[in-house]
Amino acid sequence: MPDDLINSFMTGPDEKGRFGDFGGRFVSETLMPLILALEAEYERAKTDDSFWAEMDYLWKHYVGRPSPLYHAERLTERLGGAKVYMKRDELNHTGAHKINNVLGQILLARRMGKKRIIAETGAGQHGVATATVCAKFGLQCVVYMGKHDVERQAPNVFRMRLLGAEVIPVTSGRGTLKDAMNDALRDWVTNVRDTFYCIGTVAGPHPYPAMVRDFQSIIGKEAKEQMMEAEGRLPDTIIAAIGGGSNAMGLFYPFLDDKEVSIIGVEAGGRGVDEKMEHCASLTGGRPGVLHGNRTYLLQDDDGQILEGYSISAGLDYPGIGPEHSWLHEIGRAKYVSITDREALDAFQLCCETEGIIPALEPSHALAHVKKIAPGLPKDHIICMNMCGRGDKDIFTVAKHLGFDMSDTEGRDAD
């Protein structure tokens, strides 16, 4: 633990919503009063025991927390080095970590008297989580989803509609996750008085990055306790995949001041981090800029225009990253690497075969990095990776990449 607060990595953001130079409140004037009201409400809720009592109750009885910390024995054996643990957030209700945060934001929306909830979604996991919690509390839910993602994630679109949400396919810009976020912001500017914007990741204007991190930190808090129970000590390395970076921030945050723990974030390398820019690795392949209310690392061209990311994983397909990650990257507290589509697919299959767990493509990126480094580490080195989502939603994508014809009822290989 730190000797004093000055040496702590856990004091951010400052009163301007900055983590070092990153973060901030880069929004139009129409939204500013609302963002300040949200910040005030969150500050009140944060120190309100009844707010956290309700969260704890719902986390336990509705989400199914705590999620297990699981020693992946066969995977450990196969890799032949470090001891690998998985934080099983894919076992949550709705199949991913997203609901940890949605619950918190919806409880805040209820405190603020907002009856209409909007959200953006890429792969559909945040949209499904938002639609779920809205159904539970009887709130109107509108989800913005890129037209392209609506097509490639049809099961999640249907889930959201079953849950009573309106899914709006976004055709503005190029119809991707970032455009869905633009359209959600446009909706918010238009319906600012009755609407709550439930952002799915640790990005956006202050207080969202800090608030979403705090709600997701349940992952790291549990992991820490569970690791002490299992091993009597903290892990040596923690690893998580990053699109916007909420599951990673949730795992990392409670460990930031444990300087003996090395922290690794894994970005989506797509077809490779090179000048063709067919990837979503904002930190490894981008530079600082301002988008969606915060300053952070972004994929952009020479003239400051934002580029589209690419990844096999729709959940990582975002040209930015949460501002706290940008800061952790610059000060060197966390290390950020990238993993290609191919490497993620290999890890996906390895996990299925050795552990009987079908992972989402997002944590498959984290797993791929585990696969890369574990063999070279000693057997008493403990790795904890965040299994932040289950792979049911991805089987169609994976089948296509593996050349397996899903339309063939005999289930033969297409080749």
Partner: protein
């Protein structure tokens, strides 16, 4: 005193309301856009708002979004936008030019470099949608130091408690956004706008210009009559989108300007 201050001084002496026209730089292509901009002063435009295209215009409706996409597809850059301003300055040294857009292209160029370039190109003011007063250190303060006006948006959600903060570092004029929403959306109503403008004017000596949701010469007149002027953007951009000739676009602009000047 910037060209903006001088222009409003002149209008005041003449007892006239201001007409402000917005066009997206580079829309539908560089040459056409340049021709339209260079024709705006003769069409009666008092202040030119030159849109800086951005891939992610989160406060704009479909009309301005598509204009930005057309401009970017045509190869428009921040440098080319400044070039249009330079070209206008060769034939007109009094009509103020305000750049309107988002922060990232400016941040990407580097604030100091951008301000020097903008000043040299004959730009007089900046409207940057995603820089509220909370972020004044970024560009607002440096811009004022460099002799450029920083024009702030006030909106229906800017209440009395917040208004002083919004007005504090504003110069040139105040841009009142008539609706909670995006550009080109609902119609602005003079009966709603009038009291809001009066509320703002009670706290500042700056001119208050109203924009968003003004689409016709009649609306331009109605809104200008309850404010110091009116801005029209999307309605002009729509004419450009449907491929009206520059002459036809400028004729429409002249009608809008006449509307405001009648007020």
């Amino acid at each position: 005193m910037t060209r903006i201050d001088a222009k409003f001084e002149t209008l005041k002496q003449e007892g006239k309301k201001a007409f402000v026209a917005y066009v997206m730089a580079g829309d539908p292509d560089y040459e056409t856009s340049r021709e339209i901009v260079l024709g705006l002063p003769a069409a009666g435009v008092d202040v030119i708002e030159l849109g800086v295209p951005f891939t992610d215009p989160m406060a704009d409706g479909p009309t301005i979004q598509l204009a930005g996409q057309r401009a970017l597809a045509g190869g428009q850059t921040l440098e080319k936008t400044l070039q249009i301003a330079r070209d206008l300055r060769k034939i007109d040294d009094t009509t103020p030019i305000v750049l309107m857009g988002y922060y990232n292209p400016i941040y990407n160029r580097g604030v100091d470099t951008f301000l020097a370039d903008a000043k040299e190109a004959g730009i007089d003011g900046l409207i940057v949608v995603d820089l509220p007063p909370e972020e004044d250190d970024e560009l607002c303060i440096p811009a004022q130091k460099a002799g450029l006006n920083f024009i702030r948006l006030a909106t229906p959600t800017t209440d009395d408690a917040r208004l002083p903060k919004v007005l504090q570092n504003t110069s040139g004029f105040v841009y009142y956004v008539s609706i909670t929403g995006i550009t080109g959306a609902a119609n602005a109503q003079a009966t709603d706008v009038g009291p809001e403008v009066a509320r703002i004017k009670a706290s500042t000596d700056l001119p208050v210009i109203v924009g968003f949701g003004i689409k016709t010469p009649e609306a331009s007149e109605a809104i200008a009559s309850v404010a110091d002027g009116a801005v029209v953007g999307s309605a002009i951009v729509e004419r450009i989108a449907r491929k009206d000739s520059p002459a036809d676009v400028l004729k429409f602009v002249a009608d809008l300007a006449e509307g405001a000047h009648r007020a």
